[in-house]
C-alpha cells in the first residue's frame, strides 16, 4: 500500500471514529453535562488571600478557609465536562425513571426501589436522590490506587507517614463496563474494598477487607493482622469511627462512604463553585508542599462547576458530626468539597477531594486533604499510582485471600 492510500485510509478511519465519538458524546452530554454559571468567572487567575473577595460567589466557606488559613493556591481554568463510559450512559438512558428513592426511618430498610444500573436519578429533586446518585456514581467497575498518607498537625508537623494500596470493586452489582461477577451478585455485595498497608513495618501487610451490601447491613469485613498471622472478622466503617487513627472518619472517604439510608438528607440548592476536576498537575506529589503541614499548600487548577449543596444529619447517635454539608458535583456526583460541623454547630473539618478528569474516564482520585480547622491538624492523601477496570474477580476480595496476608 502506498503512502497516499495509507493516509487516505487513516483519514477515513479517523473521520468515522470522530463522528462516532461525537455522536456518542452528544448523547451522553444531553444527560450528564451541566454547564456552570460562569458570570463573573475569569480563567487564568490565581486566587489567593489577596483577591479572594473577587471570587466570593464561587467559594464556599470551607474552601475560603483553606485558601486563607491553610495555603491553598487556586489557579482558575475554564469548565470542561466530565462524562461517564458509554455503558454507564446507556444504562442510565435505558433505566431512566425506574428508580424510586424511599425516605426510611430505620437504618436497615433499603431506601431505593427499581434501580437497575447507571445513574438512578437524571434530574434529582431531593437530597436523598442526589446521594443515591453519589452512591451509584460512575467510577469504573473496579480499580486500585496506591497512595501515601501524611498525618499532620500545626505543632508537630508530619506525625505519621504511611503507604497503602487500595483495591476496590466499585460495582459488584449493576456493572456497566466489565462482565458481571456472579459471586458478588449472589452475595448482594455492591462494593468491595481491600486496603493493604505497605509501610511502615508495624502496619505493613495489614489488610482490611470490607463489603458494602445492596441492603444497608453493617459493612462487615476482615482485618488481617500480621502479628497474629490471621484475619479477624470486624465491622469496618461504622459511623463515627476514624479511619486509621486519623482526623478523617471512614464515612468521610471520598466525601461520603456510608449507605444513603444512614443519614437524613436535605437539598439546600444548586450553585456554581470552583472545583479541582482538571487540576493540571503532572504528578499529585508535585501539587503539595510536604514541608508545610498541616495545610500542605496545595497548588491546583479549579474550574467552575455546578454542584448540589446537600445537608446531612446522621441517624446514628454515635455520629461525631452535628451535620455535614456536601458539595456534590452535578455531572459526576463526586464530592469535591465537604464541610463537617460539630454538635455545637461550629465548622469543624473541611475535606477537599481532587479527581483528575484530564487522565481519562473515569477520572482517578489523585489527592485528598482533610483539615480539622479547630485543632489545626490534617490528613493528606497523595495518590502515586492507579488503575481502572482491571477485571478483579471475587477471589481477589475473598476472605481466603486475606487468610494468606496476600
Amino acid at each position: 500500500m502506498n503512502s497516499t492510500r495509507m493516509k487516505a485510509l487513516v483519514g477515513l478511519i479517523g473521520l468515522v471514529l470522530c463522528t462516532g465519538v461525537k455522536a456518542q458524546t452528544e448523547g451522553v452530554n444531553a444527560i450528564f453535562a451541566h454547564e456552570p454559571d460562569t458570570e463573573g468567572f475569569e480563567p487564568g487567575v490565581a486566587v489567593n488571600k489577596g483577591n479572594i473577595g473577587d471570587f466570593e460567589k464561587f467559594l464556599p466557606e470551607g474552601l475560603k478557609i483553606l485558601v486563607e488559613q491553610f495555603g491553598l493556591e487556586i489557579s482558575t481554568v475554564p469548565y470542561e465536562p466530565v462524562l461517564p463510559s458509554k455503558g454507564y450512559a446507556e444504562k442510565t438512558e435505558r433505566n431512566r425513571g425506574k428508580s424510586k428513592a424511599i425516605e426510611t426511618k430505620d437504618i436497615r430498610t433499603k431506601g431505593i426501589e427499581g434501580y437497575e444500573g447507571g445513574l438512578p436519578f437524571v434530574d434529582p429533586q431531593t437530597g436523598l436522590e442526589v446521594m443515591w446518585n453519589q452512591f451509584f456514581a460512575y467510577q469504573g467497575d473496579d480499580g486500585f490506587i496506591e497512595f501515601d498518607v501524611f498525618v499532620a498537625s500545626q505543632g508537630l508537623g508530619v506525625e505519621r507517614h504511611e503507604t497503602w494500596r487500595w483495591e476496590f470493586v466499585q460495582k459488584g452489582m449493576y456493572r456497566t463496563d466489565l462482565p458481571a461477577v456472579p459471586e458478588f451478585e449472589k452475595r448482594g455485595i455492591v462494593y468491595a474494598s481491600k486496603a493493604t498497608c505497605l509501610r511502615p513495618y508495624e502496619k505493613a501487610h495489614t489488610v482490611a477487607l470490607q463489603y458494602r451490601y445492596d441492603k444497608p447491613r453493617d459493612q462487615v469485613g476482615y482485618i488481617y493482622v500480621p502479628f497474629l498471622m490471621r484475619p479477624i472478622k470486624a465491622v469496618v466503617g461504622a459511623v463515627g469511627v476514624p479511619w486509621n487513627q486519623t482526623d478523617m472518619l471512614f464515612e468521610d472517604i471520598k466525601g461520603y462512604s456510608l449507605y444513603p439510608e444512614w443519614t437524613k438528607w436535605k437539598l439546600l440548592g444548586k450553585r456554581t463553585i470552583l472545583v479541582p476536576m482538571h487540576p493540571k498537575v503532572r504528578r499529585p506529589e508535585d501539587a503539595v508542599d510536604l514541608e508545610s503541614p498541616p495545610g500542605f499548600k496545595p497548588r491546583l487548577a479549579f474550574e467552575p462547576r455546578q454542584v448540589y449543596v446537600v445537608e446531612g444529619k446522621s441517624k446514628f447517635f454515635t455520629s461525631q458530626y452535628g451535620k455535614v454539608i456536601l458539595y456534590v458535583d452535578a455531572e459526576t456526583f463526586y464530592i469535591p468539597l465537604k464541610e463537617a460541623f460539630d454538635k455545637g454547630g461550629k465548622l469543624w473539618k473541611v475535606f477537599l477531594n481532587v479527581w483528575d478528569a484530564s487522565q481519562g474516564s473515569p477520572p482517578p482520585f489523585v489527592l485528598a486533604l482533610a483539615v480539622d480547622i479547630q485543632k489545626r491538624a490534617s490528613t493528606l492523601f497523595v495518590v502515586k499510582n492507579y488503575g481502572f477496570n482491571v477485571g478483579y474477580g471475587f477471589h481477589d476480595f475473598d476472605v481466603t485471600r486475606v487468610n494468606q496476608g496476600d
Partner: protein, 540 residues
C-alpha cells in the same frame, strides 16, 4: 547452624542489594520494611528467696531477690523483604538479629551441663545469653507460587497462624514458641513463634464459600535445628523462666539435685514429620474453621527417665510425645449491642500426654556390676483433653473520656478440662491413688485439677491521631475439680501501658504486675517478676 545462618543471611543481603535500586511501594517491586528496637526492663518485686535444708540439700521455699535487676536488655534489628516480580510469584524473607548482654537474673537458669550453685552462676548467665539473647537468623524465607488464582503454594521456612481467639492460641498448633526473653503474654505472637520449614498449599473453594490450607512439616535435617522444632522449655532461662522447684513428693527429683536435663528433641527425619489441614469458610454471617494436626506435643516436655549412677545427683530425660489435635473456630458479629464481635474456638486433644507426680516411677534398667546406672521410668498418662475459649470484642464510645476515638474492650474466657481425670490429693498420690498428673512437670505443687480457667480482658483507646495509646489488660487463672470443689486460685497478671508514637519512633512504657499467693503455682511462678518495661522502636 551459625555457619548456615551466616550464609543464608549473606544471600539475603545480596538479594536485597541486587534489587534495591528499584523503589519500594510499587507493585512488582521490592518492599523492605523493618525496625531497630531497644527493649529494657527492670524487676521491681521485693520478693526474697528463702530456703530450707533437708538431707544436706538446700531447697527453696520462695523465689525472689530480683529487685533492681535487669529483666531484659534486648536490641533487635528486623528486616522484612517482600519481592513480587510476577503476579504469580512472590519471595519473602525476614531477617532478625538480636543482641543482649548476660543478665544476672539468669543465674537461676537450669541449663544443661552447667551445675547449680553460685559458683557457676556466671556460666549459666553466659549460656542463656549465648543461646537465647544473641542470635542472627533468617526467620522466614519462602516463595509463594500461585499457578492459578485459587491455588497457592508456599514453600520454605515460615509461620502459620490458625485459630481466632488470639491470646489463648488453642488452634495455633503449628509453630513452636520461644518466650525465653519475656513473659509470653506480653510479647507479640509473631516475635515468639519459631518458624519451621514447611510445604503449604492453600486452595480456595469459592463454591463452598471456603478453602483448605494444607501444611506439611517434613523435618528435613539441616533446615531446622531439632531444638527449634519444639517450644523452648522455660527451665532453660532464669529471668523469665521457671524457678527451681521446692522440696516435694520425691525430694530426689528436685531441681537442685538434677545434674543434667537431657531433652530428647524430635529427630529431623521424615518419620517425625508433621502434617495438618485447616478448612475455613463462611456460613451466612458466621466464619468458621475446622482443623486437624498431627505433630508433637510442643510444650511442656514430659519427664521420661530418671537416671542415677556413680555420680552425685540425678539425670533426667524429657521428651516431646506425638499428638493428634483437632478443633474448630467460629467468629461472627452479634446483632446487639452494636459492632459486637464474638470469637470462639475449641480444641480436642485425644492423646495429650501429662506428666505424673514426681514419685511415680517404675524400674526400667537396674544397675549391674558392669553398668552402675539405674534407670527408672517416670509415669505419664494420656488423657483426652478438651479446651475452648470465647472472646467478645466490643467497641465503646465513651465521649467524656475520648470524644474522638473508640475504646476497644475485649473479654476472654478459657476453659480446659479433662473429663476422665480421677482427681487426687498429694497424700493420695504418694500411694499412687488417682491420676496424679501435673500441670507443670517437676512441680508437684501443680497437681492437676479437672477444670482450668483463665479469665482475661483488655481495654485500649488512642488519642491525638494515634500518638498516645493507653492500654490495660488483665488475666486471672484458677482451677477446680468441680463447682466450688478444690478451688485453687492461680493468681493474676495486670499490665498497664502507654505507647507514644511520633514520626518513625514509637516508645512504649509498661508496668507489669504478677500476683499469686502460691509461689509455685499459676502466676505465682512469676510473682517475683513485676517489672517496668520500656520499648523504643524506630521503624521504616
Amino acid at each position: 547452624m551459625h555457619r548456615r545462618t551466616s550464609l543464608l543471611s549473606g544471600l539475603f543481603a545480596l538479594v536485597v542489594l541486587g534489587v534495591a535500586g528499584q523503589s519500594w511501594g510499587d507493585e512488582g517491586k521490592l518492599r523492605i520494611t523493618g525496625y531497630v528496637q531497644n527493649q529494657t526492663g527492670v524487676f521491681i518485686s521485693r520478693d526474697k528467696t528463702s530456703f530450707e535444708t533437708f538431707d544436706g540439700y538446700p531447697y527453696p521455699t520462695n523465689h525472689g531477690d530480683k529487685f533492681g535487676k535487669l529483666s531484659m536488655l534486648r536490641n533487635t534489628l528486623l528486616l522484612d523483604a517482600d519481592y513480587r516480580p510476577l503476579s504469580w510469584l512472590r519471595f519473602k524473607a525476614v531477617f532478625r538479629g538480636v543482641f543482649g548482654p548476660p543478665l544476672s537474673a539468669d543465674a537461676e537458669a537450669q541449663t544443661p551441663n552447667v551445675p547449680g550453685g553460685t559458683k557457676w552462676a556466671q556460666k549459666r548467665e553466659d549460656y542463656v545469653a549465648e543461646h537465647f539473647y544473641n542470635r542472627a537468623e533468617l526467620r522466614e524465607v519462602y516463595v509463594d507460587l500461585r499457578p492459578e488464582s485459587y491455588l497457592l503454594f508456599r514453600i520454605g521456612r515460615q509461620l502459620v497462624g490458625w485459630g481466632e481467639t488470639g491470646q489463648y492460641r488453642l488452634l495455633d498448633v503449628v509453630n513452636p514458641v520461644d518466650s525465653t526473653w519475656h513473659f509470653g503474654a506480653l510479647e507479640s505472637f509473631e516475635d515468639q513463634r519459631i518458624p519451621l520449614f514447611m510445604l503449604r498449599m492453600v486452595v480456595d473453594v469459592p463454591n463452598a464459600h471456603g478453602g483448605v490450607d494444607i501444611v506439611y512439616v517434613p523435618m528435613i535435617p539441616y533446615l531446622d535445628r531439632s531444638e527449634d522444632t519444639v517450644t523452648v522449655p522455660l527451665t532453660l532461662v532464669g529471668a523469665w523462666g521457671l524457678p527451681i522447684s521446692p522440696r516435694q513428693g520425691d525430694a530426689s527429683v528436685s531441681s537442685s539435685k538434677i545434674r543434667n536435663r537431657v531433652f530428647e528433641y524430635p529427630d529431623r527425619k521424615h518419620q517425625n514429620g508433621r502434617a495438618g489441614a485447616r478448612w475455613f469458610g463462611e456460613i451466612g454471617p458466621v466464619t468458621y474453621s475446622l482443623i486437624y494436626f498431627y505433630g508433637h506435643q510442643l510444650s511442656p516436655p514430659i519427664p521420661k527417665y530418671y537416671v542415677t549412677g556413680d555420680f552425685r545427683g540425678v539425670d533426667v530425660t524429657l521428651d516431646f510425645p506425638r499428638q493428634h489435635q483437632f478443633g474448630f473456630s467460629l467468629q461472627g458479629v452479634l446483632p446487639f449491642p452494636a459492632s459486637t464481635m464474638l470469637r470462639a474456638e475449641m480444641l480436642f486433644e485425644p492423646d495429650r500426654t501429662h506428666p505424673c507426680y514426681s514419685e511415680l516411677k517404675k524400674p526400667y534398667k537396674p544397675p549391674t556390676p558392669e553398668d552402675p546406672t539405674n534407670i527408672a521410668q517416670f509415669l505419664r498418662k494420656e488423657k483426652f483433653t478438651i479446651n475452648y475459649a470465647v472472646t467478645i470484642q466490643q467497641p465503646l464510645k465513651v465521649k467524656f473520656l475520648n470524644p474522638r476515638e473508640v475504646f476497644v474492650l475485649a473479654l476472654q474466657f478459657y476453659h480446659s478440662f479433662i473429663p476422665t481425670l480421677k482427681a487426687s490429693s498429694l497424700e493420695q498420690c504418694a500411694s499412687n491413688e488417682g491420676d496424679c498428673i501435673l500441670e507443670v512437670p517437676g512441680f508437684d505443687s501443680t497437681l492437676m485439677r479437672k477444670h482450668h480457667f483463665r479469665l482475661g480482658g483488655s481495654l485500649q483507646t488512642s488519642y491525638l491521631r494515634g500518638m498516645i495509646t493507653p492500654k490495660f489488660s488483665f488475666a486471672w487463672v484458677f482451677a477446680a475439680n468441680g463447682f466450688k470443689e478444690d478451688f485453687k486460685d492461680g493468681g493474676a497478671l495486670i499490665s498497664v501501658g502507654l505507647d507514644f508514637a511520633l514520626k518513625n519512633f514509637k516508645v512504649g512504657v509498661a508496668l507489669n504486675e504478677f500476683l499469686g499467693k502460691d509461689p509455685y503455682y499459676g502466676m505465682g511462678f512469676f510473682r517475683d517478676r513485676d517489672e517496668v518495661n520500656i520499648k523504643v522502636r524506630y521503624q521504616f
